[in-house]
């Protein structure tokens, strides 16, 4: 028989105590953090859904691998294990470790981009966009229209709009240096890209003589969606599917803090010899020697082991199902969320849930703060604060104002998730009382990390 309950394919080996807080304590903590949950001390958080990046629980096998780290500066055997595993998975010729994903992005963009260049992607994530804009280049999103409508049901909402890609390459092809696909599409709700779409991107990019790279942070979750949803793929293993995804690209950037099941680390992988040499030169300057890339030997071991665990079917079934479980609870209670749910997070549509707060009054941050005050849950705004400020200093509404509840891998149990659902429903019931916000101070780049906010008087809210 088919069971409804998805049992975790592991048991707990080691625990970390959670500290519970009172509402008064949380009010004081949030005030001290300038009403920005990024500035909270982690100890003041009960359930931390800020990100799934680097926050997962490692397995006993990964901890054992950590004990086997070879800390030699050059030629460490941990590197050779890491290289073998990544090569077998991705098929790329050059494997360049980095301390995390953004370093891989910075190195490839700095090696490749000039001022005025254009990079195309389904949706660029925050650090990706920042690393492109730092080079004076433009990051343009070409996700399909369905991917921009939170409630629209579509199996592959992360797909690139191939017509728009073709059009852009025809009209502005000389500016385009790189075509990318982010799997899964994080900013669009953790939505997958189909194999068919990846093939289409590859064909178009190559026809125009452009390189095609994957932002592969959540490649395994994407592979699972392909297995579940794409015709003709259900009999294949997630690993086979992932291998095909990589085989369609010329290279990838990867944050091992997601589907590497590690707490730190990343890599850049590519086939082109000349570009790999350029990247390694830059790597040595800012990251470390090519056989450690700014990671301890023990981290390389943990990533190698993690990449082998992450493509296991039992793991992926549990992983994706546990996200769905939270999403279904919220949806059944009428909370507006991105649907279908993505691979690593549930996204609440804050703009729809809080219609009395205009986008430039930051409904995403307002909802995030309400959730923290209610139950000590830390979520993350993915909306106008993250994406609304442009390099020229102007500010516009982002396409969506979402609140992301990112679920760390293997960290929380079903009862934690039940608690989260209850808390969200309680906030949903009192949503009209949530106040709009204004920014009191913010840096000009990646402002969402350190901006400070204050609540506006209720009468200044949009009616």
């Amino acid at each position: 028989m088919m069971f409804n309950t998805i049992i975790e394919p592991f048991r707990i080996k080691s625990v970390e105590a959670i500290r519970f807080t009172t509402r008064e304590e949380r009010e004081a903590a949030l005030l001290a953090a300038g009403n920005n949950v990024f500035s909270l001390h982690a100890e003041d958080v009960v359930i931390d859904l800020l990100t799934d990046s680097g926050t997962g629980a490692m397995s006993a096998a990964q901890w054992a691998a950590i004990m086997q780290g070879d800390e030699s500066y050059a030629g460490s055997r941990s590197f050779f294990r890491f290289q073998r595993v990544v090569q077998e998975l991705t098929g790329f010729k050059h494997i360049i470790p980095t301390h995390q994903g953004r370093a891989a992005e910075r190195i490839i963009f700095h090696s490749m981009l000039q001022s005025g260049d254009l990079v195309l992607n389904n949706t660029h994530f925050d650090t990706t966009r920042a690393n492109i804009e730092v080079e004076g280049a433009e990051a343009r999103d070409l996700v399909i229209a369905e991917g921009r409508i939170p409630s629209f049901d579509h199996p592959f909402k992360g797909n690139v709009d191939l017509e728009a890609l073709e059009r852009t390459l025809e009209s502005e092809g000389d500016r385009v240096r790189l075509v990318m696909a982010t799997v899964t599409n994080n900013s669009g709700g953790g939505q997958p890209v189909s194999l068919e779409n990846l093939r289409g991107i590859r064909d178009i990019a190559h026809r125009h003589g452009k390189l095609f790279f994957l932002d592969a942070c959540r490649f395994a979750e994407n592979a699972w969606f392909i297995k579940m949803r794409e015709p003709g793929q259900s009999h294949r293993s997630p690993k086979e599917i992932a291998q095909e995804m990589f085989s369609l690209a010329d290279g990838c950037t990867m944050s091992a803090k997601k589907d590497g099941l590690a707490n730190i680390g990343g890599f850049l992988a590519l086939n082109d010899d000349a570009m790999a040499e350029k990247c390694r030169t830059l790597l040595i300057l800012t990251e470390g020697f090519p056989t450690y890339g700014g990671l301890a030997g023990y981290d390389l071991e943990a990533i190698a082991q993690g990449l082998e665990e992450v493509v296991q079917e039992d793991y992926l079934r549990y992983r994706i199902r546990s996200i769905e479980y939270l999403a279904e609870k919220l949806r059944n209670a009428g909370v507006p969320i991105v649907w279908p749910s993505g691979g690593h997070a549930v996204y609440i549509d804050a703009r729809e849930m809080l219609p009395h707060i205009a986008p430039l009054q930051y409904p995403g941050v307002a909802l995030t703060n309400a959730l923290y005050l209610e139950a000590g849950i830390r979520a993350c705004e993915i909306g106008t604060v993250m994406f609304g400020l442009h390099p020229d200093g102007t500010e516009t509404a982002a396409p969506m104002d979402l609140v992301r509840l990112a679920i760390p891998r293997r960290l929380y149990t079903q009862s934690h998730i039940d608690y989260v659902a209850e808390a969200i429903l309680a906030v949903y019931a009192q949503r009209d009382a949530i106040a709009p916000l204004r920014i009191t101070s913010a840096p000009t780049v990646l402002r969402h990390f350190t901006a400070q906010f204050e609540a506006m008087a209720p009468e200044s809210a949009m009616t």
Partner: protein
């Protein structure tokens, strides 16, 4: 015990203040295996696989053995992306022991160098320093500054016994200020100890004078604090007035004379990964905090796992203990004294983290353009499986304007001792291997470079012997460096 019998004033034992908790097995190789491995590595020890190395003295960076307390710290990692409690512990520990107000963690030292160079340097400026270090100088140059060496002349003399060969020559610093103007000097970069000079310390008196001169002219002082605790030990040993002062107090005072510090935790702080930038100036800190998100990670983790910050905080507390630092430097001195007693030319006095073989005196028959230090490092590996590092003409790179080699006075092979990893027996084996090599030094011939990367070439350059290994003739029979020049093109 194996104390050097020729040394009448032998120190009391430097016996380690720890016992072994966990071991890592070593592989023994044959000479034939090493010959093959060396050929595959292009005669560059950086390109050897660590599995083929017996005693790895390539670097003391990140190769330390952590303590059981640090390993427990790894289990106490709070991997929250923002506001991890490990960050707050690290921050307050750095504030306590180094004394700076603000802390930005980075994944390692070069991450901190990258930040400070980008923030403080404008194109066309000059950064003086007590001798260059490879990555530090490159960060300065890529941001448009010219590095100016203002170390005292004794530093370039491998036989001078001056106790503080890392000192800044104040006259050279003053002359630079007069020549280019103080407004063209954003900061002076002061290393303690000075790696490229042989791990030589700077005195407290000199540090104080450097900062007075700098502040008179509105120039900032940035300390490279990577091995500042080893430097503090030398101050305690050698500088009048500090014999009764604790290492922790000396460290605090050293930091007092600077506006900030770049730090690689992979050295003094006994960890395998990690670093930080520490600052007193709020504006510089704020810029660093915004920039670190782009390059390293959010400012409460800086590209480190929470557990790594915890291990580094514990490492600081262990590193400043007198017993630790005595054994640390004592082990380096032990190897140094053995070599000196056998007549091996090394840089003296012995520095804090490494023994530097003087390749020019070891292999006087090999001209500098045939890479005597690179050759010596390769031969040492072949002889015994000991891996050392070239610190000479290859590491110095090329003059950006003329394209010619920089030809440093010091042509050295560094035998870097990882902290708490190797025993006295390992040091004995190393010394014996070097003595064997010294006995047959005249049969060693030079090399040519057959692949040269543009930046930091020493990491990945490849070489081949001028004379094939099997048929090496007497050293007098080969001369000139035309081949080398041709091969590089």
């Amino acid at each position: 015990m194996s104390q050097d019998p020729t040394n009448a004033t032998a120190r009391r034992s430097w016996a380690e203040p720890y016992k072994i908790k966990m071991v890592e097995l070593l592989k023994m190789t044959t000479r034939a295996e090493r010959q093959l491995a060396l050929q595959e590595a292009g005669y560059n020890t950086f390109l050897l696989r660590s599995d083929d190395v017996y005693i790895d003295l390539l670097t003391d960076s990140g190769t330390n053995a952590m303590s059981d307390r640090q390993w427990s710290g790894l289990m106490m990692g709070d991997e929250a992306y923002a506001g991890s409690r490990n960050f707050y512990r690290l921050e307050s520990t750095i504030q306590q022991y180094y004394g700076y107000r603000y802390v930005v963690p980075t994944h390692q030292g070069r991450g901190a160098e990258n930040l400070i160079s980008q923030i403080l340097i404008k194109p066309g400026t000059f950064v003086p320093g007590n001798m260059y270090f490879t990555t530090t100088r490159l960060h300065q140059e890529l941001n448009g500054a010219t590095f100016v060496d203002v170390i005292i002349d004794e530093a370039h003399d491998s036989e001078s016994l001056f106790p503080f060969k890392g000192n800044v020559d104040l006259d050279k610093f003053r002359a630079l200020i007069e020549r280019v103007g103080a407004e063209k000097i954003p900061y002076i970069s002061v290393a303690a100890t000075v790696n490229m000079a042989g791990g030589q310390p700077i005195s407290m008196e000199n540090l104080r004078a450097v900062s007075e001169l700098a502040y008179q002219h509105g120039i900032k002082v940035i300390l490279d604090a990577t091995r500042a605790i080893e430097n503090a030990w030398f101050i305690k040993q050698r500088e009048p007035g500090y014999q009764q002062t604790s290492i922790a107090s000396i460290l605090r005072e050293m930091c007092l004379y600077s506006d900030g510090a770049t730090m690689s935790g992979k050295k003094d702080l006994l960890v395998n990964i990690g670093g930080f930038l520490a600052l007193n100036d709020w504006d510089v800190f704020e810029e660093a905090r915004n920039l670190v998100v782009v390059f390293e990670g959010l400012h409460t983790y800086g590209g480190l796992a929470g557990r790594d910050m915890e291990a580094m905080a514990i490492g600081i507390e262990e590193a400043v203990s007198e017993e630790h630092i005595r054994a640390r430097v004592g082990q380096v001195e032990y190897l140094g004294e053995k070599l000196v007693a056998a007549g091996i030319p090394i840089v003296r006095p012995v520095g804090g983290h490494a023994i530097f073989l003087d390749a020019k005196r070891f292999l006087p028959h090999i001209p500098q353009d045939e890479y005597p230090a690179q050759t010596l490092a390769a031969e040492l590996y072949l002889e015994s499986g000991v891996r050392a590092m070239e610190r000479g003409i290859v590491s110095a790179g090329r003059n950006a304007a003329t394209g010619d080699h920089h030809r440093p006075k010091l042509e050295l092979v560094r035998l870097t001792i990882p902290r708490r990893v190797y025993t006295q027996a390992h040091m004995d084996v190393t010394a014996e291997s070097i003595m064997d090599l010294f006995a047959r030094r005249e049969s060693i011939t030079g090399m040519r470079m057959i692949y040269e990367p543009k930046y930091l070439r020493f990491f990945q350059a490849r070489f081949e012997p001028l004379v094939p290994a099997a048929a090496a003739p007497a050293p007098a029979e080969h001369v000139g460096n035309d081949h080398a020049a041709e091969a590089i093109g």
